[in-house]
Symmetry: C2
Subunit: 377 residues, 2 copies
């Protein structure tokens, strides 16, 4: 998609292309990150580019642990945290740690397509379960029905990519209770892997409930790609619920997997930079403004969608039955979007609105022409 | 090993522990890297922390391609280079790209132990072939004898970890000719993966011959961990020989694997920092001085070893038959080394001399006491 956008910009002029395909924040990191970088550049700490323990710097892990502890009933220690090469790296480390070949991982439709590859990397099989088609909220009964003797884990993602929904505390609690029941029934541990790079990007003052308060065998995997706008820097972490069965063994295994999968660790310089920024984030209000502007315009034109509570994606219904054909038609109007079938949900399309507000403004007439062409207005 | 060293330093005092276990350069990156970092910190480039194309920044790939082209008869383009999360990431990307489940990869004893895990990660099987026990040089006939219908690749590493030997051009040529013959015989491609993070660390003005000039189906994998002293920063690359059969298909596959393995890419900031430093390296003379000092002292005490031509490791014979027992005995004298069996070579041990010269100086009497205790002097 990166290449396709670049080709069209070269062909039709960058200012004429409205690229809503990639979750690559156009915003810059908070000023505090720039200050930390300048400080380290001016007064480099000896050895600051060297290897560290395979789990990462203790002070970074400590800072992360304190941050997570604030949002949950659990007491997280540095020893529950491992710094990883982004959330992608973290997810692979977790899957390598917990999966035996042939075991199943439940993912929820619409899903982030990389989950399929990550599960396959470690000999697992992805089982898809649909979320509620009206709300994109979890269907706990459907998840329960999908759990079998080979199920090892469920990946959830809140705020969600691509739908923008947040799973409320009651849902996580219901999921946790169901899993405890199924674990007893099946005599095996079922993990919830909570992929939450958008956790600090929640609108209208909401906070995203922490999975640790509701689900015992749970793992958080996240990165600072979105909250500190550092997607190219591969800086993330995983954290294990201290209440997890055999939590020490899990952490030991995950440190080993971090190393042997070849990630080894998160970049040293970035670990230092984010240590003091655990309570910071990019300007959420700016994202909310973009959401409101585009949501109002698009629903006004007749596009149907769930209003996102966090993150920076819309997942509207495709006005044409064939979402790939719709994305191609949109391209004629210089609008680039991703067909829903890439997320296991044909009949929808994804808009990433982590773009310049000016681009959103400039795109509004194009959206109108597109809506006209498909007969919405 | 990181943790064991830390424990002993805490117990016996940091200044009393002579830790020769880890290839974690004590040297700082070249001053030019610090200048590039300061420049970026003072005048940040908009969007410099964002995602880029999955293969990395074009200008970084271009700089790498120009650097490699200087040392070989092949003309390398940016399109033959992919930026990776260190050499560990690069090796995993290559193995995922070329291996089918059950295929074999030949590694040479003594080998870097992570190769075993990397091959296993992608469903492959490691086949070990011994190097010449006197010189640690390649035994092309033994490699030929080990090649069968399931062989897919051979990993070589020059300058070598743990032995410090460099494979001369004639050996690479002989290896290349043998492989071409075997490829015709077997009707399949056999890859040479050249893992060369120590390529700029060659002593006495030697340069390490480029595998691309001698072996058609070859891939370079490396990082700036050692040559620019950035081991914690996960910055490396892979490059494919333009003469390779189906080179475009290989590169396309490797870009995909870089993404789906979860590495996604090398850190954005580090890619920028190394772009203009492709001809730079840490002070090689300083490494050579360390090598000479320790080599003279240890051989004077009766330790037997091949004199390293590059890198920063010695791989001496263990004066006790049991190399693990020897490493334990060394620890009694506050000397930390790695037993050879960790490299598939019992009866040897590894010394990493990428440490402060002062530590080497301080360790000399301890080595003498150790030599006395094992009856060498």
């Amino acid at each position: 998609m990166f290449e396709e956008g670049a080709r069209l910009r070269a062909e039709r002029g960058a200012e004429n292309i409205f690229d809503f395909t990639i979750g690559n924040p156009s915003t810059e990191p908070p000023a505090s990150l720039q200050r930390e970088l300048l400080k380290l550049a001016q007064e480099p700490v000896p050895g600051m580019h060297r290897y560290m323990s395979n789990a990462g710097y203790t002070e970074t892990r400590q800072a992360v642990a304190e941050h997570i502890s604030k949002g949950t009933t659990q007491q997280i220690e540095a020893g529950h945290v491992i710094m990883t090469c982004g959330a992608g790296g973290g997810l692979n480390v977790v899957l390598k740690t917990i999966l035996n070949p042939g075991e199943e991982v439940i993912i929820l439709t619409p899903y982030f397509v990389e989950y399929m590859f990550y599960i396959d990397n470690h000999g697992g099989t992805a089982e898809t379960v649909a979320t509620d088609p009206e709300t994109f909220q979890l269907n706990v009964a459907a998840i329960e029905a999908a759990i079998g003797p080979n199920t090892r884990a469920i990946i959830i993602n809140s705020p969600n990519n691509p739908t923008g929904v947040i799973y409320p505390a009651e849902t996580l609690q219901a999921l946790g209770e169901m899993l405890t029941r199924k674990e007893q029934e099946l005599g095996r541990t079922l993990f919830v892997i909570s992929d939450e790079p958008y956790a600090r990007l929640a609108y209208e003052g909401q906070s995203v409930p922490c999975v640790f308060s509701h689900i015992k065998n749970s793992i958080i995997v996240t990165s600072h790609s979105k909250d500190l706008a550092l997607p190219g820097e591969r800086i993330g972490y995983l954290a294990a619920n201290p209440s997890m069965d055999g939590v020490e063994q899990f952490i030991e295994g995950a440190i080993f997997c971090n190393r042997v999968l070849g990630f080894v660790n998160a970049p040293a310089l970035m670990q230092r930079l984010v240590t003091n920024l655990q309570e910071e984030s990019v300007d959420i209000d700016a994202y909310q403004e973009k959401r409101d502007l585009l949501y109002q315009h698009l629903t006004g034109l007749g596009f149907k969608m769930v209003k996102p509570q966090g993150g920076f994606y819309f997942f509207p219904e495709s006005p044409m039955e064939d979402d790939v054909a719709f994305a191609q038609l949109a391209q004629k109007h210089n609008i680039l979007v991703v067909p829903g079938r890439g997320f296991g949900a044909p009949g929808y399309f994804r808009i990433a609105y982590c773009v310049e507000p000016e681009m959103i403004q400039r795109s509004l007439p194009a959206w109108e022409r597109l809506a006209q062409e498909v007969g919405l207005v």
